[in-house]
Amino acid sequence: MSMVRLVNVTKRFRKIVALKQINLSIEDGEYVCVLGPTGAGKTTLLRIIAGLLEPDEGEVYIEGKKVNGVPPEKRNAVYMFQNFALFPHMNVWQNVSFGPVTKEWDREKVENVTSEILEMVRLGDRRDAYPYELSGGMQQRVALARGIAAGARILLLDEPFGALDARLRVNLRTQLRSLVKDQGLTAIHVTHDQEEALMVADRIIILREGRIEQTGSPQEIYTNPQSIFVMSFVGGANFIDGSVAKLDSSGSTIEIRGGLQIRVSDTSRRMGERVVVAIRREDVLLGKSRRRGFNNLIGEVADVMFVGGSLEYVVRLENGVSILSRIILASDSSPFSKGEIVIVSFHPDECRVFPYPRKGLLKEIEAI
């Protein structure tokens, strides 16, 4: 039985449609990331599940029960806001025991449950501390403990690492995921950070302009993106505009600007159709010689950037198109320098072909 199920959920704010006909089902114990750019409707989706908003159309089910009209306090779905929203006027103990106390459990039970959970998140000795006295990591543990103590079965995380600095975010992500998994909770985590989503999620739901664009495991999303938008939003890629010039059983040939030709394995397009060829940056290789079975184009290195453990090259092809290549830095390889003439190679299997978007290519990529 699915933990959370949405059927045809639609939500409007005056004229703006925040969610359109959302259908979605989340299993018990699953860690799901809802990924999308600002304004995609992520927070609206989360608030509808929490009961802080009611959908205009459609049904919401939690543990198989329809919960439309059920107030938030009856749903066992705890909402965790950006930076955790620990009550600033209460100490750790009061924060964690908030759920049990408001549910009017008897005192002994409140004591036992709260101290047990505090021990579990290793905060037994900080019960009298106030939120502002705690580190980011501790605050997160308190927030989680508070949710568990309130009997949460579902955690709704709204950009939980919003304003924290980059290194702390990375640490907290893994901590959060393992705590959630240990407790067997179902988590729905909203973020606009694709790296975060790829790292923690069992499954990613990509939301765009109120619609689900694609759902799948992180690997699926990365290796098999269904649209230019998903490919560009998750991981990024080179997008080259062209049209189908030749079509045969082993693939097709795409003609791009300046009469250059790219061989791709895809055969699903029609002859003469305007298409976009997409190649991940790490699939673009640079060298001094042609590679057999690859597309080989000649270009000049226009810029080199150092990105983490790899080098990112901007290579200008003969036709003026720029192509990005990311090559892992290895001690034995000598990097190319600016102005050097190189051969750009990529395999036909690595090229994805999408129909040319109706609103133009830039529109699909720039939305991010």
Binding site: P71, P72, K74, Y79, F87, P88, T102, A150
Partner: protein, 567 residues
């Protein structure tokens, strides 16, 4: 489950409608009743104001004269305060220096000191031998009650009092506004080569314009409606709000009501456009016009020169004004109480001493005790009722679509002259209206509730908006608290500071109010009114003592507010 939800819905509707009904009856109705009174009794008004068989339209002519005088006074006060308030607000908002807190308190002081006490302090400072005159070695006061201010043709002493009383409205409003403007814009402008004056004119001024505007409106309203201090220093001239008090006591009710509703209408005409402008200015583009290049270059050069040579003036002149209008009067009062303690220092008569007047045959001390009791009861009860109404009202303002409308409505009691408000309350609840309440303590309380609600609501809203309450409350809901326990355990504790600050401000305001109280008090005199009575009875030493007492009380209040807002 759904039944329970519906139950919550019904009770929340009940709370909302009770709050709104109370708000409409106790706050809105008195503010608007005056206007309907004019329409209901138009015949009477026409007869008394325009077509009196004996004096003709003499009353109308007087209204016009008084209004013109009031406007001249208030407009020049605002202009003067703007010129010196803007630099001071800038300094307070942007600079850190030792004594800043003290300076802030000094600027705020006229806001909390009961104005009749403050007016009396100013009066003896400027016009008597114990003030500046004596200090300079003269045998009389520095000026007389009738010394006129050049150009604007209003008595100098009146002008000084109004300048001091309206000053905090401009400075504090603008200070808050400037603090909310990101300083990086100014830094960017300076690093791009603009002098500090040019930066001010082209960057800060346009961005702060809504703040300047609302500060000016508040200051104007304050000056127009001021009664306590004005009564003491006005001499023979009459401002609009004083005229209302006088006419009411002369039973020229229709004339007073007509004038009062004119003032209410004027307040509306000023506030509505200002409200709309201020609330929209975030979205609309700022006004811009282009000067010829030569002229613009010239101005920038001049500004660069002035910035280099005379910029220190912006720190000094406001300081001098605050010293002259606030510090010296208070010091003079304190000094004079000591001088007059046992006897009149100039004639040596014990009858002219504080002790004789307080405990002698006139027994002002027992009047003072009685007035203190009345004042305290009024302030406590009206603040308590005001707070009880303000808390749910603030939540409604923040959470309902019509909240904005209510908030605008609440601005009205803040800017209409309190004497018109008092008149309106008297006509509505008193014997000539619904006949439910007679003049006295209860009517004073009804009047004070009207202006305590907006004060408390503003303070609660500031706390509310600064603390992300919605987020905490939503968290509490998903953790299992129902709508009411979420408000009780999370939201209320978070706005506690705002509620307390608002309550104290309202208490102070009620303690110092004179204009409305004069009209509705009947025989229950409050302390600030007592000061006016003492001055009119020429019991100067007693008035000195009472003013000192009021100043001490308000300093205590200010200290409490400081401690509360620090946290």
């Amino acid at each position: 489950m759904t039944a329970r939800l519906r139950g919550t819905d019904v009770s929340s509707k009940l709370v909302v409608s009770c709050t709104l009904i109370t708000f409409i009856i106790f706050v809105l109705l008195p503010t608007f009743y005056l206007i309907s009174y004019i329409f209901l009794r138009w015949d009477e008004v026409w007869y008394e104001v325009f077509a009196n068989p004996i004096i003709g339209d003499e009353n109308w002519k007087q209204i016009v004269r008084v209004l013109l005088f009031s406007f001249r006074l208030s407009l020049s006060t605002v202009a003067f305060d703007l010129i010196f308030g803007i630099p001071l607000a800038y300094v307070l908002a942007r600079k850190k220096f030792p004594g800043k807190n003290l300076l802030e308190d000094l600027v705020t002081l006229p806001l909390v000191i009961p104005t009749s006490g403050f007016g009396f302090a100013t009066l003896i400072t400027w016009t008597t031998i114990t003030g500046i005159g004596g200090f300079l070695g003269l045998k009389r006061g520095l000026i007389s009650l009738n010394t006129m201010t050049p150009f604007i043709n209003v008595p100098f002493i009146l002008f000084i009092v109004h300048v001091a009383l309206a000053f905090p409205y401009i400075v504090r409003t603008l200070e808050t506004k400037i603090q909310s403007i990101d300083m990086t814009y100014e830094v960017a402008s300076r690093t791009l080569g603009a002098s500090s004056l040019t930066t001010f004119r082209k960057i800060l001024f346009p961005l702060a314009l809504p703040g300047i505007f609302s500060g000016a409106v508040l200051a104007f309203a304050r000056s127009l409606g001021e009664t306590g201090a004005t009564m003491i220093v006005s001499g023979v001239s009459a401002t609009a709000s004083i005229a209302i008090v006088r006419w009411t006591s002369e039973f020229k009710l229709s004339t007073a009501a007509f004038m009062g509703s004119l003032l209410v209408l004027i307040a509306w005409v000023i506030i509505l456009p200002a409200e709309i402008y201020v609330s929209r200015s975030r979205r609309t583009r700022h006004l811009s016009f282009s000067l010829p290049t030569n002229l613009a270059m010239g101005i920038i050069r001049l500004e660069r020169f002035l910035s280099r040579k005379f910029f220190f003036l912006k720190d000094i002149i406001p300081l001098i004004i605050v010293t002259l209008t606030v510090v010296i009067p208070i010091a003079v009062v304190l000094n004079s109480v000591l001088l007059y303690w046992s006897s009149d220092p100039y004639t040596g008569k014990v009858e002219g001493g504080v002790i004789y007047q307080l405990f002698g045959p006139s027994n002002y001390f027992s009047s003072l005790l009685r007035a203190t009791l009345t004042s305290t009861i009024v302030a406590l009860v009206s603040t308590y009722i005001g707070t009880c109404l303000s808390i749910p009202l603030s939540f409604i303002i923040e959470r309902r679509w019509y909240g904005r409308i209510i908030r605008t409505m609440l601005k009205v009691p803040m800017i209409i002259p309190t004497s018109s408000l008092g008149l309106s309350v008297m006509l509505l609840w008193g014997p000539s209206g619904l006949n439910l309440v007679n003049s006295g303590v209860w009517m004073i309380i009804l009047t004070h509730i009207v202006f305590s609600v907006p004060v408390i609501v503003e303070s609660i809203i500031a706390a509310y908006e600064g603390s992300g309450i919605q987020m905490y409350e939503d968290s509490a809901r998903t953790l299992g608290a129902n709508a009411y326990s979420a408000i009780e355990t999370v939201s209320l504790p978070l706005i506690k500071g705002g509620v307390l600050t608002g309550a104290i401000l309202s208490f102070t305001r009620s303690l110092g109010e004179t204009g409305a109280t004069f009209i509705v008090m009947g025989r229950d005199i409050t302390v600030p009114v007592l000061v006016v009575n003492m001055v009119e009875a020429l019991a100067i030493p007693a008035a000195l003592f009472t003013s000192t007492y009021l100043i001490a009380l308000s300093l205590l209040m200010l200290a409490i507010v400081r401690i509360l807002t620090k946290r």
